[in-house]
Subunit: 234 residues, 2 copies
DNA sequence: ACCTGAACACCGTTCAAGT
DNA sequence: ACCTGAACACCGTTCAAGT
């Protein structure tokens, strides 16, 4: 028993006699709290209250708050769908996976702050990695390239969605109309006239921010997949 | 004056008479504290102590802690280098940028938790976006494709490095030898024999984790750039 | 085996008061 | 104009004590 990574998943879980409370129940409440009140809204005391127990009861089921977050994190991974790559072809399967991953992250924006802090070692994350590996193997990748392709694709999704989440958060949940958007940029980007002009121009042309983001996501995804296909031919 | 995004950069800064203390000095101290003690190590009280003042003095220069973090975040963007794309060609310039961005993030791992929480509206981020736009314009991208290319590339870098940071953090600064690495995975991935076998195999072959990560980064970067070039030809 | 409340050592932020 | 300390409303976590 040498040094280990600190994670819920490296510890043996409690036998889970499940008398009244259970780890399952706690995770569900945690997810609830995170989804409604965000990462800052989650505290052991609030969680305890929601479970009708003392805050410190939770420490019986979980070593600390980070473990709780790892458990919740794992649930998000469980929501991501990867279709069977045999049937529609690997590119379609992987593309659907990417969109599903983006949707899951946007549904649970608090993951944006977790990805840089907690490792994804839960069964759901590993299962997905396993299936993604199979998709890329089927595509024709060999050896380490399978893992590289894996990493590259998920990295792209992470990297697109994480700043999306930050953007959403900074608007505090309120929709920003086009005018105040431009006002903000005028203030912020006044030393970068080219950039500013560009943003105002785009804003004028495209009113639906969500659609723009989706298009941008699709562009980069197609680009990444094209690149992967090119590597397959080489 | 309609609704604005909440950010340091949308407020007029203090006149900055700079008698004793200054925003500059505070930002430097903040960076110091973040780099040595991490995001959790930064508190207004500790920062005040480091500046030889009361904790609440900082609130004269900054509205709240998030603004402080935005200021620090901006500094990191300032460290990223983007070579003149005219000279070595856009692909080389953009590639150097990506590596420089990764290096800056690894130097300041706390950014990993910020990217999903704070918008990057500081002058350094905008200046970089401006220059990156120019590089992609020079490459031959037109209209919105310039912005899409921009987003895709930076997303890739973000997405690769952020989990790298999480991984590093979860090892608590200690190097993990190969054996305990395998031990960890055996515990965690016991339900995914293929994945497990693969990881152990790779670990046996490649001892230098840093080098593996760099290779993986280079692979995805090349893939993304290939994809972008393909789009240019289309 | 499970749950509790008190207690400890922290937080960010407000604000009246000082110079 | 700038800085202060006290105070408020929180935190995560430990631990002796309860059932």
């Amino acid at each position: 028993m040498s040094k280990q990574i600190s994670s819920v998943w490296t510890r043996e879980p409690r036998p889970a006699r499940t008398p009244g409370r259970s780890r399952e129940e706690i995770v569900r409440a945690t997810l609830d709290l995170l989804d409604t009140e965000g990462l800052d809204g989650l505290s052991m005391r609030k969680l305890g209250a929601r479970l009708g127990s003392g805050a410190t009861t939770i420490y019986w089921y979980v070593e600390n708050k980070d473990e709780l977050l790892e458990l919740a994190y794992n649930e998000v991974w469980g929501e991501i769908v990867l279709p069977d790559p045999e049937e529609p072809g690997w590119r379609e399967a992987v593309s659907a996976f990417a969109h599903s991953m983006r949707a899951a992250m946007l549904r649970h924006p608090w993951v944006g702050s977790l990805i840089g802090r907690l490792p994804a070692l839960g069964p759901n994350a590993l299962s997905l990695a396993d299936r993604l590996r199979k998709a890329f193997t089927l595509a024709g990748f060999k050896g380490l390239d399978i893992d590289y392709a894996n990493a590259a694709l998920t990295a792209y999704v992470f990297g697109m969605v994480i700043p999306e989440i930050a953007w959403e958060a900074s608007m505090g949940g309120e929709e920003l109309d086009q005018e105040s958007m431009n006002e903000t940029f005028q203030k912020v980007a006044k030393d970068f006239p080219d950039l500013l002009e560009r943003v105002v121009e785009v804003n004028a042309k495209i009113s639906d921010t969500d659609a723009l983001r989706e298009t941008s996501f699709a562009f980069g995804l197609a680009t990444m997949l094209d690149g992967l296909e090119a590597r397959l031919r080489a």
